[in-house]
Amino acid sequence: MEHIIETWFGKIKVNFNEEDLNKIERYVRGKYREYAKDYGYDNNSYLIELKKRCIALAKDKIQEEAAEKDRSIIRAYTILKDLRDNSNTLYEKLLDWYKEHFPELKIERDRMLDIIYRYGGRENILNSNENIFISDKIKKSAENSNGIDLSGEEEVILKELSKTIKHILNLEDILNRYIDEKIGELTPNLSSVFNSRLVSQLIYQANGLKRLAFAPSSKIQVLGAENALFSHLSYGTPPPKHGIIFQHPYIKNAKPKDRGRRSRFLASKIAILARIDYFTGLVKDDLIEKIKKEINE
């Protein structure tokens, strides 16, 4: 019987009294180099040519993967995540220190950073003439404060720290804007129903829009709840009802008994929209309106 077997150097015809194709292929695979001689490859050039092919193939595939648009979104998102964690803990530590010196100062974060960066210690606040930054109330509490004194060295540290935190917050803003813009381009449908923070998190967890589009809605539902899911699969603990999608107010604000049902619904909608985004990229206005209406009801 004649068989045709595909190899990297071409299709070869072989004659065997054997039915099982796997066995024949295995036999031929043991003698690739002998067959390749007919195609003009000796022992040396066999490897050289094969390597050339394989490297070209791999380079093509790498290009494809690295060029996917969602890579940059995932990168930006991971940086943003780290920055957020760091800016929060750093700000807490800054406050912890500064409150020893001026416990009465209670204002929101951005203004707090501004004031520490600009003035440092209490005395400078008292001596300032800039009424825009320092209200009379703050001045009064600075006068009567019962905090400990700050040495010059410590003042420099706190000033520099607040400056650093301000820089980090600024970078967060830039990244947020970048992600918003890119997510809007990449997933026009998904991001018009859900906010970009949720969408970027989904893409990050699924490791790319392609994988999100190919994922079943049951997977999307528990994306981000991997620990709970695997402990369910291995030890039979209760299964997770929702992962990242819990952030959405539709689930977050629901009664506990409705949450499972709602997260199933939401996950199925995300699956539909992600597939439209991945395969067509066209905006489906009527579908978006319909889903928005269903969610708001």
């Binding site: 292929e25 295995r26 043991g30 490897l47 094969l50 390597k51 394989c54 193939l57 791999a58």
Partner: protein, 184 residues
């Protein structure tokens, strides 16, 4: 081979393995390496089998870049950007080999070894797999997990040795087996 043992066993699992067990490889041996990563161990094999060839399979594009530049320097490395779980995709590039070396921390590591051996491993060929017991079950004793996993190896394999790579690699167990393809 003897001099390789002088290297730091933490450099590569293969050296840690050589510290525990001596094996010999022919200079012309062909090797199929699953999970080549950036090619640390691959470059060792390249020196062990100067006249042979190493088919290095890796499915992640970041280490693949390094592997490609390595293979441009060392003649006997063939980089294959494929999923080791789907050997059908790269079967037209690979010949029958004398050794399958597997170092992929996957849950179905043993099944992957079975599939690849069925297609690529010579009769009387050797399988060397670095089983990461933690990626199979992180809560149980590695020894237990390894002895259970060994049961899942194809019956065509003759198990020669099971070596725990303590203290160099705490989560890894090396399984060495000889292949007998004709066995039913």
């Amino acid at each position: 081979m003897e001099r390789l043992e002088l290297l730091n066993p933490k450099y590569s699992k293969f050296i840690a393995f050589l510290h525990k067990k001596k094996i010999s490889l022919d200079k012309n041996a062909k090797i199929l390496y699953l999970g080549a990563a950036a090619g640390t161990t691959v470059s060792l094999f390249s020196k062990i089998v100067p006249n042979g060839v190493i088919y290095a399979v890796e499915f992640s594009w970041k280490p693949m870049r390094k592997l490609i530049s390595l293979s441009e320097d060392l003649d006997n490395i063939i980089p294959l950007f494929f999923d080791a779980n789907k050997p059908d995709e790269y079967k037209q590039y690979v010949e029958l080999v004398d050794l399958i070396y597997e170092d992929i921390s996957q849950k179905n590591q043993i099944e992957i070894a079975n599939k690849n051996a069925e297609l690529f491993l010579k009769d009387e060929g050797l399988l060397l797999t670095m089983l990461k017991t933690k990626s199979i079950d992180s809560t149980r004793n590695p020894r237990e997990v390894a002895s259970e996993e060994v049961q899942r190896l194809d019956t065509k394999f003759n198990i020669l040795d099971i070596i725990i790579l303590n203290p160099f690699y705490k989560d890894h167990t090396a399984i060495m087996a000889r292949y007998n393809h004709k066995k039913e």
